[in-house]
């Protein structure tokens, strides 16, 4: 505390009024900050990841007259995911590699401080799908920055000075980080990226005061290293039993098996459970790793204090398509069959929207949220297993065979772009991809620190498979998680790769790859507002107030995996790849460059 007082005094002297708590726990601090609708104090605004703000000054009746209030260039070119964090009169903006952090005074939009970490550029090529970074966490006067090179840093929120830093992984072995950490009680939680490099995934909890490791739970391997209790950790309400992971792999493949943890984390304070998903097993060639490959492709519910897994649910046993299970789990209380249930809702890469009881892991609903999904007919509600269609099984079709017209594509019906939930409408608002693929697995050798992919892919609009004459690559949908039904669906030319925002004004915001911030009616999906920002949007739309006025902000800056289909040049042909041609058209709409655009009513 002593070290913080001078900087706090300095900050006050400089006219800053960051809400620095005095003697409460971080949990209380973060809870209080996120309960205050004027802030946007964590990635999902609240622990439940709902990305819902009760603010209603901007609403369905007036959003059409929204205007740009101010803009801010980050000076970084690569894909900008995540969104701005606002606490009191201060905004914190993060960037992709080199992972700059800016503290911005909302009164005059001047920079209070900027932190630019020094990172070895050799980490850049170890990041499979662009150098994205999804955001910061805040607690007790500290900003938590998860750098690409895996260094987790606590910065003084008032000065930008480093308080502590800790190394979370080894980039030379393929480990990197892209995820936003979260803080619960006295711990900051982070994961690891590198599934395409054979990295073994884990969730780690560090003490927020000194950075010491409190616990680490792996996704694969021996029970004790996964913090799994064979008797008490359940899957589909039954104990998982001993060696649940080891028995589902051949030999030592689990050691380089992936199950990385690069998505979003949510938390239920009443149950004290932290929720997240694990990524694909390595390699992308399923033939070389027989078995269910547990616990890749799995939702974990862990005790926040001890890390012990309460329950797990594996969406895609023995993945054959790269359907990472990392997408967020949104916590909501919704009525199912007349009973209000505490649920977690998860829109998986595999095209199914899952609703589970978040206390027990009981599977309640599993339905396709993109009707094009064809790799499985349905999920067996007794076993929880998807019923795989042989025609689209890259394992059954075999190595060196091009399995065609699989829906969705490897980037999933939804990727990292988080959905939103409005308690006013009871609906989930989901940014989706509408893309299918051909997938041909083949043998590759594992080399530490090198990509470990093992499949060739082609991607194209889902309409080429469904034969409905459409060529859109995305949809923005409203989803009823109790029934497992699409309520409305708005087609988008490109994949919707931006995090959604639902508000008390009964509007929903999202961004498009060609750079438009859009507002739609929460009940009908009707477009109410659209503005072309400087670059394609893969960031999340956030909202806050300053001096009593509501603002909406979003980072533009195209990139990420969505940008991989975006050609730098327009030469060459696309025979037989109409779809890639469609993505390729993206560069007629937008170019690189990170800019925050802030909107308000006139």
């Amino acid at each position: 505390m002593i070290t913080r007082i001078p900087s706090l005094i300095a900050a006050i002297a400089m006219g800053l009024l960051v809400a620095v708590p005095v003697s409460v726990s971080a949990n209380d601090d973060v809870k209080a900050l996120s309960a205050d609708v004027n802030n946007w104090a964590m990635w999902g605004r609240t622990y439940d990841g709902a990305r819902y703000s009760p603010l209603s000054e901007i609403n369905a009746g007036n959003v059409g007259s929204l205007q740009v209030a101010w803009t801010f260039s980050t000076g970084v070119l690569r894909g900008h995911e995540g969104g701005p964090m606002v606490i009191g009169d201060t905004m914190f903006v993060h960037t992709p590699f080199p992972n700059k952090v800016f503290s911005i005074n909302l009164a005059d939009q001047t920079i209070n401080w900027a932190y630019v970490p020094v990172q070895d550029p050799s980490v850049i090529p170890v990041m499979c799908c662009d150098t994205v970074y999804r955001g910061l966490a805040y607690a007790e006067g500290k900003i938590f920055l998860q750098q690409a090179d895996t260094t987790l840093v606590a910065l003084d929120a008032n000065s930008g000075e480093v308080i502590w830093s800790v190394v979370n992984g080894d980039p030379s072995a393929g480990s990197t980080n892209t995820n936003a950490p979260i803080v619960v009680n006295d711990k900051v939680y982070t994961g690891i990226s590198g599934g395409e490099f054979g990295v073994r995934g884990f969730l780690a909890a560090y003490n927020i005061n000194d950075g010491s490791l409190v616990w680490k739970g792996y996704s694969t391997g021996p029970d004790d290293e996964m913090l799994i209790d064979p008797e008490n950790t359940t899957h589909m309400l039954e104990p998982v039993g001993p060696n649940s992971s080891l028995d589902s792999w051949e030999g030592d493949q689990w050691k380089i098996g992936g199950g990385t943890t690069w998505g979003w984390f949510t938390y239920d304070p009443d149950l004290n459970l932290i929720y997240y998903g694990t990524g694909n097993p390595s390699t992308w060639n399923p033939v070389v790793r027989p078995g269910d490959n547990k616990w890749s492709m799995t939702i974990f519910a862990r005790d926040a204090d001890t890390g012990m897994a309460r329950w797990v649910y594996q969406m895609t046993p023995h993945d054959e398509w790269d359907y990472d299970g990392v997408n967020e789990g949104i916590l909501a209380d919704i009525e199912i069959d007349g009973v209000t249930r505490k649920v977690i809702v998860h829109f998986d890469r595999n095209g199914f929207g899952y609703t589970l009881d978040r206390a027990t892991g009981e599977l309640l609903v599993a339905e396709k949220y993109d009707p094009a999904t064809n790799w499985a007919t349905h999920v067996d509600m007794e076993t929880g297993r998807p019923q795989v269609v042989a025609e689209y099984s890259t394992d059954q079709q075999g190595e060196d065979v091009n399995t065609q017209n699989i829906c969705p594509a490897a980037l999933g019906s939804k990727d990292q772009q988080p959905a939103a939930f409005s308690p006013r409408t009871g609906l989930f608002y989901v940014p989706t991809n509408h893309v299918c693929m051909d997938y041909e697995p083949f043998r590759v050798e594992y080399v530490s620190g090198q990509p470990y992919v093992g499949a060739t892919l082609s991607m194209f609009p889902a309409g080429r498979v469904t034969g409905d004459g459409t060529d859109n690559l995305g949809n923005f949908i409203a989803w009823d998680a109790a029934k497992g039904e699409i309520v409305w669906s708005v087609p988008e030319q490109f994949s919707v790769w931006s995090g959604a925002l639902a508000t008390g004004g009964d509007i929903v915001f999202y961004g498009t790859l060609d750079g438009r911030l859009k507002a739609v009616d929460a009940n009908s999906g009707a477009e109410l507002y659209s503005f072309k920002t400087p670059s394609g949007i893969i960031g999340n739309v956030n909202t806050w107030t300053f001096e009593g006025k509501q603002y909406v902000g979003v980072l533009s800056g195209v990139g990420g995996w969505a940008g991989i289909g975006m050609a730098a040049g327009l030469e060459g042909d696309t025979d037989g790849l109409g779809a890639v041609g469609a993505y390729r058209g993206l560069n007629q709409h937008t170019q690189l460059g990170g800019v925050l655009t802030v909107f308000a009513l006139p």
Binding site: Q450, G560, G576
Partner: protein, 150 residues
């Protein structure tokens, strides 16, 4: 084409010298001037690339290219991360190609890793070069191609 072949031979020698121990020299006989993909592509209708098929040798080049896709785009035409290889292969010779693939390259926006120790690339470096050159020369379409020698 004459110039390209001269470069190819020089490049293969240079490539072998910079540590690509697994290089398989498959260039045509001395005195001939075919590009390295010649003899590996068959097109049913001349001028219609959609009718082209390739052999296993060139398929291995396409598979090695899967390592490149994550940065250079699904078709190799570039992405927000890396430049178009279709265009690059028109600009650089095999020497330069080998140097960059083996040792990596630090660009203005991106950083390319060195692949010199990766058998999934280096064992098929000839095929990769031939595949990319075929794309650059406009004799193969983007995407996966059927094999005529299955």
């Amino acid at each position: 084409m004459i110039q390209k072949f001269g470069v190819t031979v020089a490049g293969l020698v240079a490539g072998a010298m910079i540590g690509a121990g697994n290089l398989v020299v498959t260039a045509a006989a001395e005195g001939a001037e075919p590009p390295p993909y010649e003899g590996h592509i068959q097109c049913e209708t001349e001028g219609d690339l959609s009718t082209c098929q390739i052999d296993l040798w060139l398929t291995r080049g396409y598979r090695a290219f899967s390592q490149c896709q994550v940065c250079h785009g699904l078709t190799g035409d570039g992405s927000t991360i890396g430049p178009s290889l279709v265009r690059k292969l028109r600009e650089i010779d095999l020497d330069r190609f080998m140097e960059v693939v083996v040792n990596g390259y630090e660009g203005q926006i991106g950083v390319m890793p060195g692949w010199g120790t990766n058998p999934n690339v280096m064992n098929y470096i000839d095929q990769l070069y031939a595949y990319l050159l075929a794309r650059a020369d406009g004799v193969l379409p983007a995407g996966r191609l059927k094999r005529y020698d299955r």
